[in-house]
């Protein structure tokens, strides 16, 4: 009986490993190897080892794109947290019927292509567009504003597309929370704010953590929003990688940029985990 059961376990594990090796490890290794090769004169790659691709990243022009991406990712994550946390918190406190409805409303936008939804924002932001007409109609502004192709427009687009991840992460941790802790804190004399800061916030930290990670990682890579709503005026690492592949045809440089981006993102997540983990321990102690 026993060996047969083990066989079955292998049946389920092997496809999983194969899948991971082929679709996750494979491309990563390919990318890593490619980043040390040399581009061919016009098309393709030659098998000559070089570190030039990494040296090139240190040029200020290219290093700057990493800073720009980090800046946008941090701003996006903070704003998403500021909007998403209260949303998720109050959503978890609704009645079952309303919860279901809200959940549906949060998820529905995913049924439409993200690109399509960005074009929707263009209609809102463009000069004499919906927002302009509203502001002028209310007498707040007199002339059309230049809302589109600006940094705030990009931020709105980023926050808009990543908000559901934050909401759902916060929601699930608030939903799981045992409210008797808060009652206990209140009984022991804590004010509402104190109870929230010392109990609720600490208990929902795992939700915040996963929300932050779910928002931060994609915002390092989402570059089409900067292209569409920012009018191509913001140069992110994502744009640079795309340009290397699609116009400059320098695949090894694109690979090197991707390797650095991957490493950088992983490091930041590690750092973030370490920091939040220690505060969590402090909270318990």
């Amino acid at each position: 009986m026993k060996p047969r059961r083990q066989n079955r376990i292998w049946l389920t594990i092997v496809p999983l490993y194969l899948f991971t090796i082929i679709f996750v490890a494979g491309p990563l290794i390919y990318m890593f190897v490619l980043s040390f090769l040399t581009r061919d004169e016009v098309w393709g790659v030659v098998n000559t080892f070089t570190l030039d691709n990494y040296a090139k990243i240190l040029k200020p022009v290219y290093a700057q794109t990493f800073l720009e991406s980090l800046k946008l990712a941090f701003a996006t994550t903070l704003l998403t947290l500021a909007v998403g946390y209260p949303f998720g918190y109050f959503m978890a406190r609704l009645s079952a019927k309303w919860k279901k409805l809200m959940m549906l409303l949060v998820v529905v936008p995913f049924w439409t292509s993200a690109l399509m939804r960005m074009y929707g924002w263009i209609i809102i932001f463009q000069s004499n567009g919906l927002l302009d007409k509203l502001l002028m109609g209310l007498g707040i502004t007199e002339d059309p504003l230049k809302l589109l192709y600006s940094y705030p427009a990009v931020l709105v687009g980023m926050v808009y597309s990543l908000l559901p991840f934050m909401i759902l992460a916060v929601y699930s941790s608030v939903e799981k929370m045992d409210w008797s802790y808060i009652e206990a804190a209140r009984d022991l004399g804590a004010s509402r704010v104190q109870a929230f800061l010392t109990v609720t916030l600490k208990l929902t930290l795992p939700g915040i953590l996963s929300g932050v990670i779910l928002v931060f990682i994609p915002s390092m890579g989402l570059f089409f929003i900067a292209d569409i709503l920012g009018g191509g005026k913001i140069m992110l690492v994502g744009n640079l990688i795309r340009d290397q592949l699609m116009t400059t045809r320098d695949w090894p440089f694109a690979a090197a940029l991707s390797v650095v981006l991957t490493v950088l993102t992983s490091l930041l997540i590690r750092l973030y985990r370490k920091i939040t983990h220690t505060t969590e321990l402090e909270g318990i102690l």
Binding site: G44, T65, G231, K233, M246
Partner: protein, 346 residues
């Protein structure tokens, strides 16, 4: 058990039915940008010839070439792409020579659109959409008279200019203002263009590949550098826009069709080429793609207003310079100055 057996039998039947079908139906695998070949032209071709067209899209020329070289010049029967990438594909040996005896309409091609760098002896390609990018501006909102690329730098145009987000085009027109060629190999000159390009940054309101003309029509920008099709669309929306033939020199590009080396249905590809080279069909294509019409028989089918809105004559063609492939060192400098330019935009 019986049920499963029935299901398997039914499946087997349907599969054999499909493969049977596949062998009888003639196919043509056409690979190009989405909606670049008008749907009605394809539908009529299918009706007339009984050949089924499988239209697959790519987003960029580079994506096409990556797939084509991975397939070793197979999988696709007919590819429609840009001049410079066809040159690379030709150098990689991925093109198949055309058999003009199977294309009776070959002589309809206007020879002014032939003999270019990517196919100097006209052995491999059929021109589909030639074009010249031009400056278009709204004279009601712009106080200066624009007659060349140099005017885009004018201080009165702060935050009003839209360009196509295409590295070699943007760096290229800057080189033109320095009196240089798009394709110069002089690295110092390219760097000098980079310095000059940084000075253009305050005037740039947006960069976009596909919808620059919409921003001009909407009033988001007042000056735009546009591809031929976009020029036509902008003028259609607002006939008051002024079109400028930049005095520093014109650019020129051709999107052309070729048959890959190991195309599975080469005969059908030839049938299709002959079909679209028909005078009337050529005119239908040109009126929908808004590019120049490379078919001289089509001219009589082209509507009058179309001639007016396009405003480019064949006399302009020899003036135009192609953007061609340059050495990887020069390409790298272009990328560096363009990245610096984009970082300098607000």
């Amino acid at each position: 058990m019986k049920r499963i057996l029935v299901l398997i039998l039914a499946l087997a039947l349907s599969i054999s039915a499909f493969t049977g079908c596949g062998k009888k139906t003639e196919e043509l695998n056409l690979y190009t940008w989405a909606e670049y070949v008008p749907a009605d032209v394809i539908a009529d071709f299918e009706k007339d010839t009984g050949i089924r067209v499988n239209y697959t899209n790519f987003e960029t020329n580079e994506e096409m070439l990556a797939k084509l070289s991975a397939a070793d010049g197979g999988d696709y029967d007919l590819i429609l792409a840009s001049d410079y990438i066809i040159k690379i594909a030709a150098d990689e040996g991925l093109l198949s020579e055309l058999d003009t005896s199977k294309i009776p309409n070959w002589e309809n091609i206007d020879p002014i659109y032939q003999g270019f760098f990517y196919d100097p002896e006209d052995k491999y390609t059929v021109p589909y959409a030639p074009g010249i990018p031009l400056i278009v501006y709204n004279p009601d909102k712009v106080s200066i008279e624009i007659d060349g690329y140099e005017d885009l730098w004018d201080p009165s145009l702060v935050d009003q200019v839209g360009l196509m987000d295409t590295e070699r085009v943007v760096t290229g027109i800057t080189l033109k203002t320095l009196g240089a060629s798009f394709n110069t190999e002089d690295l110092d000159l390219i760097r000098q263009a980079g310095e000059k390009l940084l000075e253009l940054a305050p005037n740039i309101r947006m960069l976009h590949q596909d919808q620059t003309q919409n921003a001009l029509i909407q009033g988001e920008i007042n000056v735009a550098f546009l591809f031929t099709s976009q020029v036509a669309l902008a003028l259609q929306a607002n006939p008051n826009f002024k079109v400028v033939y930049p005095k520093e020199g014109l650019g020129f590009g051709v999107d052309a069709l070729f048959v890959p080396k190991n195309a599975p249905n080469k005969d059908n590809a030839h049938t299709f080429l002959n079909y679209i080279l028909d005078g009337e069909v050529g005119a239908r294509i040109a009126t929908q793609t808004y590019y120049l019409c490379p078919n001289k028989v089509s001219y009589e089918y082209l509507p009058e207003e179309f001639h007016n809105s396009l405003m480019i004559t064949t006399e302009d063609i020899p003036e135009g310079e192609f953007i061609q492939n340059i050495s990887s060192e020069a390409e790298a400098v272009h990328n560096e100055i363009y990245t610096a330019f984009k970082a300098a935009l607000d």
